[in-house]
C-alpha cells in the first residue's frame, strides 16, 4: 500500500512542501552549519573540531538556527491551508482530527530533520576532515531531532492559535529561546533549547563539553516527549473547535 493510502495527509503535505519555496529556505538553514565548518577549517586547521561543533550546536544551532528553520515548515503545514482556505478539503472528511495533526507534524518534522541530517553530516565531515567520532555525529543528530520535534509541535500549535504564526514564532525564537533563555536561569529551564542541548551533551558524554544544569538523557527525553504530546493534543483540540469562515 502506497503512502497516499497509508498517510494521505502526510502525502499531501509533502507535495505542498515540494511545490512551495519554503523548503528552499529550510535547505538554506540546514546548509548554514557547513559554511561555519568550512570557515573553521580554513582559519584553524589544528583547532579542536569537537569543541567547535559542540559550541556551535549549543550556542547557535539549538537556540537560533534550528527553531527558525523548524518554524518555516511547521507554521506552513496548516497555516497556509487556513490562510488560503483549502483546509476545508481535508477537515470535511471522516478523519480524526488527531490523525490530521499528527500527519502534518510528521511531514514538517521529517523534511526538516532530513535537511539537517544532510547538512550536519556534511558539517561534521568538513569540520573533522572526515575523521571525527561517530558519537559526536550521533549527538548532533539526536540533539537536532529532539529540537526539531519539540519546536515543530510548538509552532504547529501556534499556527492554529494566531493568524501571524510566522511572526509570532520569530519573536518567540529571538526573544525567548535566543536571548532570555541564555541569560535568565529560570527561563533556561523552560526553553526547548535547554532540553535539546541536554540531549546533545549527554549523548556526547565528553567531560570537556559542559552545560549548566544539564538534565539526564532520560529526563530530557521525557520532558521533550511530554511537550510534543501536549502541544499536539492542544492542536487537535483547537482544530476540533475552530471556526473556518
Amino acid at each position: 500500500m502506497s503512502i497516499t493510502h497509508r498517510a494521505p495527509i502526510l502525502w499531501l503535505t509533502l507535495r505542498q512542501f515540494r511545490a512551495g519555496r519554503a523548503i528552499l529556505l529550510v535547505a538554506l538553514f540546514a546548509a548554514t552549519p557547513v559554511l561555519f565548518a568550512a570557515i573553521f577549517r580554513w582559519s584553524s586547521a589544528t583547532g579542536d573540531a569537537t569543541e567547535f561543533l559542540s559550541n556551535f550546536f549549543l550556542e547557535i544551532l539549538a537556540p537560533t538556527i534550528l527553531p527558525l528553520a523548524t518554524l518555516i515548515l511547521a507554521t506552513n503545514a496548516l497555516g497556509n491551508e487556513i490562510a488560503d482556505r483549502t483546509l476545508v478539503y481535508i477537515v470535511l472528511k471522516p478523519v480524526a482530527r488527531g490523525r490530521l495533526i499528527v500527519e502534518k507534524f510528521i511531514a514538517s518534522t521529517l523534511v526538516t530533520v532530513l535537511a539537517f541530517t544532510f547538512g550536519l553530516v556534511a558539517t561534521w565531515a568538513v569540520a573533522t576532515g572526515g575523521s571525527g567520532s561517530g558519537r559526536l555525529l550521533g549527538a548532533l543528530l539526536a540533539g537536532t531531532l529532539a529540537g526539531v520535534a519539540a519546536y515543530g509541535a510548538l509552532f504547529l500549535l501556534i499556527s492554529l492559535l494566531v493568524p501571524r504564526a510566522l511572526l509570532v514564532g520569530i519573536i518567540y525564537v529571538l526573544i525567548w529561546e535566543s536571548a532570555l533563555a541564555r541569560f535568565i536561569p529560570g527561563i533556561k529551564m523552560l526553553s526547548v533549547r535547554h532540553f535539546a542541548q541536554s540531549v546533545f551533551v549527554r549523548i556526547l558524554d565528553n567531560p570537556a563539553i559542559r552545560l549548566d544544569r544539564a538534565l539526564q538523557l532520560s529526563s530530557a527525553t521525557i520532558v521533550l516527549v511530554v511537550l510534543v504530546v501536549a502541544a499536539l493534543a492542544l492542536a487537535t483540540l483547537r482544530l476540533r473547535q475552530m471556526n473556518l469562515p
Binding site: T4, H5, P8, I9, W11, L12, R15, Q16, R18, A19, D84, R85, T86, V88, Y89, I90, V91, L92, K93, P94, V95, A96, R97, R240, Q241, N243, L244, P245
Partner: protein, 325 residues
C-alpha cells in the same frame, strides 16, 4: 394547549420552512450567527428533505454562512443545526454522508484533477478509490483534463473538479456554494443537469446562488435570504407569482418612441407609459405579457428596437417585493 403552541409558532418573528411531508434531512432551528456586532444570520429556521433546494439571496445575505454552518465549519452563535438527524459540529463520522463544494476557487494547484479527487476518495476510505475517482470525474465530464495540474484549470474546470471531489463518496447530502460561478454557458448547462440528476436520485442538494434565473433552472424549492433573515421559502413558482403581482418598470429604447408608446398603452395590464428622449418608460402588472407584446407591436409598426430592459429586475428589487408582500 396545542392551539397555544401553534399560535406561538405563528407569532415567531423568523420565517421558517418545513416541507409538508417526507423525511427532513437538514434541520436548522432558530439559528443565528454573529461576528462581534455584525449579525450575519438572524434567527433562521427551516427544514429540507431530498431533492434540490435553492438558497437564494444577494451578496452578503448570509448564504455562505448558513452553508458553512450546515457543513459544520462554523458553529452557530445560537440555535441548532442537524444533518441526517445528527449534530454536524465536531462529528467527523457524518462527513461520510456529506459533500461540500465550497465557495472559494482555490484548489491545491500542484495536484492534478485526478489526484485531488482521489485524495478525497482515500480520505473517505472508499474500498476502490481509483474506480470511484474515475466515475466522479466522468460524471462532471472532466476525464480528458483529469491528469493536468489544477493550477492550469479555468474557473469552470476548477468548479467541476470540486464537484467531482464532493461527489466521489456519493453523499446523501450535498452542499453547493455558488457552484456555477465562473462557468461558461455549456459548463453551466452540464452542471445544472448534473445537480438536477443528483436531486432526482433522492439526495438532498442545497445550492446557493445570487442569480434568480439560475436558481429557477436548478431547484423547485427555494429559500430566500435577505440581510441574514429568511424572507421567503417554498415552491419557486409560488414565490415568483408573488413577485409578478407587483408592477414592474421596463425601459424600451426605439427609433420612434412616441408611436410605440401610443400603441403599447392599449395593453391591458399597463399602469403607466411615459416617453423620455428615445426611451419609453413603462410600468406594468404583467411583465411577461409586455415582453411578448413589445417586439410584436414594433414589427407591425416598423419600429426599430434598440433595447428592452427591466429597470427593477435586480435581485435586490425582487427581494424588496418578497419582503414587502
Amino acid at each position: 394547549m396545542v392551539e397555544v403552541q401553534q399560535q406561538a409558532e405563528e407569532q415567531r418573528p423568523a420565517a421558517g420552512y418545513v416541507p409538508p411531508d417526507g423525511p427532513r434531512t437538514i434541520e436548522v432551528t432558530e439559528v443565528s450567527k454573529w461576528y462581534g456586532d455584525v449579525v450575519a444570520v438572524s434567527n433562521v429556521s427551516f427544514a429540507i428533505g431530498p431533492g434540490v433546494t435553492g438558497l437564494l439571496g444577494p451578496n452578503g445575505a448570509g448564504k455562505s454562512t448558513i452553508l458553512k454552518m450546515l457543513a459544520g465549519l462554523l458553529a452557530p452563535s445560537m440555535g441548532t443545526v442537524r444533518v441526517l438527524g445528527e449534530p454536524v459540529r465536531a462529528n467527523p463520522r457524518l462527513y461520510r454522508r456529506i459533500g461540500l463544494v465550497p465557495e472559494q476557487e482555490v484548489v491545491y494547484p500542484f495536484l492534478t484533477g485526478r489526484e485531488f479527487v482521489r485524495l478525497n476518495a482515500i480520505l473517505q476510505r472508499l474500498p476502490d478509490p481509483d474506480a470511484a475517482t474515475a466515475e466522479a470525474i466522468a460524471r462532471v465530464e472532466m476525464t480528458a483534463a483529469a491528469d493536468r495540474p489544477v493550477g492550469g484549470y479555468s474557473k469552470g474546470m476548477r468548479q467541476r473538479i470540486k464537484v467531482a471531489a464532493a461527489l466521489v463518496h456519493q453523499p446523501d447530502v450535498l452542499i453547493l456554494d455558488e457552484p456555477l460561478t465562473g462557468t461558461d454557458p455549456l459548463q453551466r448547462l452540464q452542471l445544472i443537469k448534473l445537480i438536477r440528476a443528483l436531486g432526482a436520485e433522492g439526495r438532498t442538494v442545497i445550492v446557493s446562488s445570487h442569480i434568480l434565473h439560475e436558481v429557477e433552472r436548478l431547484a423547485d424549492q427555494i429559500l430566500v435570504l435577505v440581510n441574514g433573515k429568511l424572507a421567503a421559502a417554498g415552491d419557486y413558482r409560488a414565490i415568483r407569482d408573488k413577485i409578478d403581482e407587483h408592477a414592474r418598470r421596463v425601459r424600451v429604447r426605439a427609433d420612434d418612441p412616441r408611436t410605440l408608446a401610443a400603441a403599447l398603452i392599449r395593453l391591458p395590464a399597463l399602469e403607466s407609459v411615459r416617453v423620455d428622449g428615445d426611451a419609453v418608460l413603462i410600468e406594468t402588472g404583467d411583465v411577461r405579457d409586455l415582453y411578448r407584446a413589445v417586439p410584436k407591436v414594433a414589427r407591425e409598426l416598423g419600429i426599430r428596437l434598440y433595447e428592452v430592459a427591466a429597470l427593477d429586475d435586480s435581485l435586490a428589487s425582487v427581494f424588496a417585493y418578497v419582503t414587502a408582500r
